[in-house]
Every structure is written in structure tokens, then in C-alpha cells.
């Protein structure tokens, strides 16, 4: 059983206008097998939480703690966090010209598992995962994310989640920019990965649409840098009907 525990997390970002606090005391625990939906209006700090947990250098943790399996996550470098079992499916995956998807996936798998995967099984596994995501196998020879459409980038992110088998996966607006068919295929990929590995999932989204495909156990409403309300799946249904206005006016 893996646990990601976030305690009273405060995070700032450097802006031209000075240091700006974004997260103002986040408390959240995600355990293996659980799916937590983090919902909230734009600018509430959802993505900051995701990138901060992954260790993006832009964000400065001013107080609080995060542990993964009891280890201090915040003391780890970006790559150490990934090797410790944390995965972030990014909202805007970055292009890495020249590095092929095949080479990238093999290098990443070798890094997170500590040994190179046996070549033949690996190639088959990658091919099957690509097929399941309806991600053309020819992408294996293309440069990472270069010239990918929005949907292709998201398939590529979930492909990585399936292959790297993280303990905790953070999905940052994986649903944005996807049409209904792509959303279904990508969501199936997430569910498949979770079923196979028992990963804990933190699903960050603005809309309830993806929750029709990935069923959350818990829903957290994120407003102004902290969790304003928590509940079960029914909370998402209420948000669908009422929107975020209720929370915004309270701020």
C-alpha cells in the first residue's frame, strides 16, 4: 500500500511582480487504488499542485510537507520522485526534438525500474499499449511530442503511464482538448493502468465529463489554493449542476 500524504502545503511562484502565494495549505492523502478527482475553477492552483509535486523548479514550497511511502518527496530531485513512483501526465507535454518516442520510453523505463527491459518483450509491450490507445505505432520513430496534435500528446502521456507503472499518478487536465472518442480511449488507458498496477490516481480536471469514464472515489473542490469542500462521487454531480459559483462567491 502506497500513500502520498500532503500536509498543510504552501507554495509560491516567482513572478515579475514579486513572489506570489498560490497554494495556501493543502491537505490530501492519496492511497494505492484510490482515485481522487481534484476539481475547481481556473486559476485555483490545481496545476500548481501537480507541477509542485513533480518538482518543477518554478515553484517554491514555503511550508508544509509531502511524503511518498513515508519518504520526504520534497527533498527529492525531479527524477528521483519519478523513480520513487510518482508520475505526472502533463497538460502541455513538451517537445523534445531528435529523441524518438521509442528511445525515450526505453530510457525512461530503464531509469524508473533500475534495469533495461528485455528488448523483445519490451517492444511487444510498447506495441500492444500503443494499439490499445489507438496510437499509431509509427509514432515510436517520431521525435517526442514534436508535431503531435493535442490528442496525440495526451495518448502519449497515458502510454507512458501504462508503461512506467507508477505508484501514484497525477493527471493534469488530461481531458482538455480531447474529443469524445479520444477521451474514452485515453480514459480506458488510465483505468487499464490502474487495474494492472493498483496505482493511486489524482485526477485534476475542470469539467465533470472525464468522470463518466474514470470513476472517482473522492472528489475535492479546489478554490483559491486550498481544498474548499470534499465528498464522494455525488459531489461531482452537484458541481455539474451548480458550477463553481457557490465557492467563488464565498472567497
Amino acid at each position: 500500500m502506497t500513500k502520498l500524504e500532503i500536509r498543510d502545503l504552501h507554495v509560491s511562484v516567482d513572478t515579475p511582480e514579486g513572489v506570489k502565494p498560490i497554494l495556501k495549505g493543502v491537505n490530501l492523502t492519496v492511497a494505492s487504488g484510490q482515485t481522487h478527482a481534484i476539481m475547481g475553477p481556473n486559476g485555483s492552483g490545481k496545476s500548481t499542485l501537480a507541477y509542485c509535486l513533480a518538482g518543477h523548479p518554478k515553484y517554491l514550497v514555503t511550508s508544509g510537507s509531502v511524503s511518498l511511502e513515508g519518504e520526504d518527496l520534497l527533498a527529492m530531485s525531479v527524477d528521483q520522485r519519478a523513480r520513487a513512483g510518482l508520475f505526472l501526465a502533463m497538460q502541455y507535454p513538451v517537445e523534445v526534438p531528435g529523441v524518438t518516442v521509442a528511445n525515450f520510453l526505453r530510457t525512461a523505463k530503464t531509469a524508473v525500474s533500475g534495469q533495461a527491459p528485455p528488448l523483445r518483450t519490451w517492444v511487444r509491450q510498447v506495441g500492444q499499449a500503443m494499439d490499445a490507445l489507438r496510437f499509431d505505432r509509427e509514432f515510436a520513430e517520431r521525435s517526442v511530442n514534436e508535431g503531435f496534435s493535442g490528442g496525440e500528446k495526451k495518448r502519449h502521456e497515458i502510454l507512458q503511464m501504462e508503461l512506467l507503472e507508477p505508484k501514484i499518478a497525477i493527471l493534469d487536465e488530461t481531458d482538455s482538448g480531447l474529443d469524445v472518442d479520444a477521451l474514452r480511449v485515453v480514459s480506458e488507458g488510465v483505468n487499464r493502468a490502474q487495474a494492472a498496477t493498483g496505482a493511486g490516481i489524482m485526477l485534476i480536471t475542470h469539467y465533470t465529463r472525464i468522470l463518466e469514464y474514470i470513476k472517482p472515489d473522492f472528489v475535492h473542490v479546489f478554490v483559491d489554493g486550498r481544498i474548499a469542500e470534499e465528498g464522494g462521487p455525488d459531489l461531482a454531480t452537484r458541481l455539474e449542476a451548480e458550477g463553481y459559483d457557490r465557492f467563488l462567491s464565498a472567497v
Binding site: A54, G55, H56, P57, S77, V78, D79, R81, A82, R83, F87, L88, M90, P93, V94, E95, V96, P97, G98, V99, T100, N103, F104, T107, A108, A111, V112, S143, V144, Q160, L164
Partner: protein, 380 residues
């Protein structure tokens, strides 16, 4: 595109250094170069402190000899095009002549130029080398440079009719070395030259490559690689000169700038003369910048004096390996040093593959690794 009021083909060429004015930052051909360092080569008397050794045994059909500059195989390419190149000629007592008359393209002749071991200060030296490929000859020459040196050098490459050879020049000097090389090649009818220039070491490596397609149906493939770190200046002044008909030239240069204050320069001049009908030419320079304050100057120039050509084009692009790319790779568990190495290897992979000589390509991959290791340790 640079603006040239005067044709590249009319630039002064002479065997006598005094014919050239002292280099000035206002000269087109010197404006990117650190002249204070190069002055060691054009103001000083040049001796012969760099040792030249040729691998043995030589492949079948290959000879190596030391000859006077008056030898009929020496001075067949155009006269030196700048003051340092002329100084190198004027100060050379003799030349190393490699004559290729073999039949196997993969037969390798290795020429090693070695400077000092660093226990003494380098003394400005001159050296002249000639690679002569006889008609229809096949073969490959690797020219390696190492140690500490200040060197002004002439390298002539002559391809007679139908010759098909590869020449790889590797600059792996010790830190502190200053090297100005003048590579001058002439391709005869239906000759094919694969020319590769690699800059890894040294403090300053400036290569002028004047490559002439004289005979009809010639084929030139010029490949360049530089890995430039903090404190290094790697410069290429390329001049592809088409005068023969129905010739093809491809120039592909790639550079990676690894550390802050790394500086690379690539000036690529292509001239298609009035008689060079049916020319098909393309040149490109791509740079990958991995450090914030590194600088890559890249200037392609294309000058066409006939409308009857097959094609002519150029491309120049500089990309950055930035913090977001690094973050993305690290977020997949890949440590920073491996991420940089992955990106640099990927950047050069296709180009190294095109060298065609397996052992040379493998050695080059190893050298790139060593350079990345060295870079990592020096900044750690």
C-alpha cells in the same frame, strides 16, 4: 542571408602572407573570430613543433611520404585564402603527402598530428598535408589532432577523375590549443568526396574549408560536427565552389553548445558559377544550445550566377534544450546528465550515421560521450 557586395569567388588568394592585410574585426571573414588569440598564428614566426605520424602498415595502394612544397602533387588546390593559411604555407619546410590508389573504400589511413603534453608552453607551428586520390581510387583518411598546440595548417585534398574517398578531420586538441586550418579540396570529373570535420577540443579551432567542384559530375558531401563548451570557440568558414557542370553538393553541419560562453560560428558560402549548369546544391547548419549564455552564429550565403541549375537551397536553425525539456525528461525518471546526453546523441545520431565508416563512427560516439562526461565533471 548575409549581404555580399563582392562575389565570394573574387576574394584574394595568395601563397604570400604579406599580400593579405592584418585580420581586422571589420573583415567579413574575420568578424566572428577572436583575433587576439589568432594573432599567435599570423604575427609570430611559425616553427614545426607539431609531430605528424602516419599509421602503419598502410593499406594496399596507399603511400605516405615527406616531400618538398615544390613536389608536383603539392599546391594543386587553390592558393591560400587568408593570411594564416598563407603563413602556414610560407612557414612549412615540407609537406606530408598521402597518395591513395587503392580499391577499397573502407581501407583506413590514419594521420596523427600531436602537439605538446602541456609541460611546456605551445609554440606557434605550421604544417602542410596533402591527400591525393588518384583516378578512380577508393579509400579513407582520418586526420587526428591532439595535445597542446598553436597550429597554422594547410590541408589539400585532390581527387582525380572518378576518385571516391572519405576524409575525416578530428580536432580533439587539449584545452588551450589554438588551431587555424585551411582545408582546400578540388574534385575532378565524376569524383566523390565525403568530407567530415569534427571539432571537440581546443580553445580555438577555426577551419576554413574551400571545396571546389571543378570537373563535371562531381559529388561533394560535407559533414560537420562541433561540441563546444565554456571557453571554446569553434568556427567553420565553408566555401563550396561550383564550376563544373551537373555537380551535386550537400553540406550538413551540426553543433551543440554545452556550456555558458561557448561560441560557435558557421559561415557557409555556396557559389554556383556561370558555367556550373545543372548544379544541385543544399547546405544546412543546425545548432543545439544547452547553456544560457552560449552563442551560435550561423550565416548561410548562396550566390548563383546561372539560371540553369537543378536546385539550390539552404537552412539554418538554432534550437534550445531548455528547462522545460529537461523537466519533462526528468519527470520520467531520467537523471539530468542522462537527459542531456540523450538529447545531444539524438541530435548527432543521423549525421554520425552518414559518415559510413563504422569504426570512425563508433570512435566518434565515444568521443562525444567523453566530451559530455568531461563537461559534466567540469561543471559539477
Amino acid at each position: 542571408m548575409g549581404i555580399n557586395l563582392v562575389s565570394r569567388g573574387s576574394r584574394l588568394a595568395s601563397f604570400d602572407p604579406v599580400d593579405f592585410p592584418r585580420p581586422s574585426p571589420r573583415d567579413e571573414q574575420w568578424r566572428f573570430s577572436p583575433l587576439a588569440d589568432l594573432a599567435k598564428l599570423y604575427d609570430a614566426a611559425l616553427s614545426s613543433h607539431v609531430v605528424t605520424r602516419v599509421s602503419s602498415p598502410l593499406p594496399a595502394g596507399v603511400t605516405a611520404e615527406t616531400v618538398s612544397l615544390g613536389h608536383p602533387a603539392v599546391g594543386l588546390t587553390p592558393a591560400p585564402g587568408d593570411r594564416i593559411a598563407a603563413a602556414a604555407w610560407a612557414a612549412s619546410d615540407d609537406a606530408t603527402l598521402i597518395t591513395l590508389n587503392g580499391t577499397n573504400a573502407e581501407d583506413l589511413t590514419v594521420v596523427r598530428l600531436t602537439g605538446g603534453d602541456g609541460t611546456e608552453t605551445a609554440q606557434a607551428s605550421a604544417s602542410h598535408l596533402v591527400v591525393l586520390a588518384k583516378a578512380n581510387a577508393r579509400g579513407s583518411v582520418v586526420l587526428e589532432h591532439s595535445g597542446l598546440a598553436y597550429l597554422a595548417q594547410g590541408v589539400e585534398i585532390v581527387l582525380e577523375e572518378g576518385a571516391d574517398i572519405t576524409v575525416v578531420v578530428l580536432h580533439d586538441w587539449a584545452a588551450g590549443s589554438i588551431h587555424a586550418a585551411s582545408h582546400r579540396a578540388t574534385l575532378g570529373k565524376e569524383a566523390h568526396l565525403k568530407y567530415v570535420s569534427v571539432a571537440l577540443g581546443g580553445s580555438l579551432v577555426r577551419v576554413t574549408a574551400e571545396l571546389q567542384l571543378k570537373g563535371d559530375g562531381g559529388n561533394l558531401e560535407a559533414l560537420g560536427i562541433n561540441l563546444t563548451d565554456t571557453g571554446q570557440h569553434h568556427e567553420t568558414q565553408l566555401f563550396v565552389d561550383h564550376s563544373g557542370r551537373n555537380c551535386r553538393s550537400r553540406a550538413t553541419y551540426k553543433g551543440a553548445l554545452l556550456g555558458p560562453t561557448a561560441h560557435s560560428v558557421w559561415v557557409g558560402d555556396v557559389l554556383i558559377r556561370a558555367g556550373a549548369e545543372g548544379t544541385d546544391s543544399y547546405e544546412e547548419n543546425r545548432n543545439l544550445v544547452l547553456a544560457k549564455d552560449a552563442r551560435a552564429d550561423s550565416v548561410p550565403n548562396l550566390e548563383i550566377a546561372t539560371g540553369r541549375i537543378g536546385g539550390a537551397g539552404h537552412a539554418s536553425a538554432t534550437g534550445r534544450f531548455d528547462q522545460e525539456q529537461l523537466f519533462y525528461l526528468q519527470a520520467r525518471g531520467i537523471p539530468e546528465d542522462l537527459a542531456r546526453s540523450l538529447v545531444v546523441h539524438a541530435f548527432f545520431a543521423e549525421l554520425i550515421g552518414r559518415i559510413g565508416l563504422k569504426d570512425v563512427a563508433a570512435a566518434l560516439v565515444t568521443a562525444v560521450d567523453a566530451k559530455l562526461d568531461q563537461q559534466r565533471n567540469s561543471h559539477a
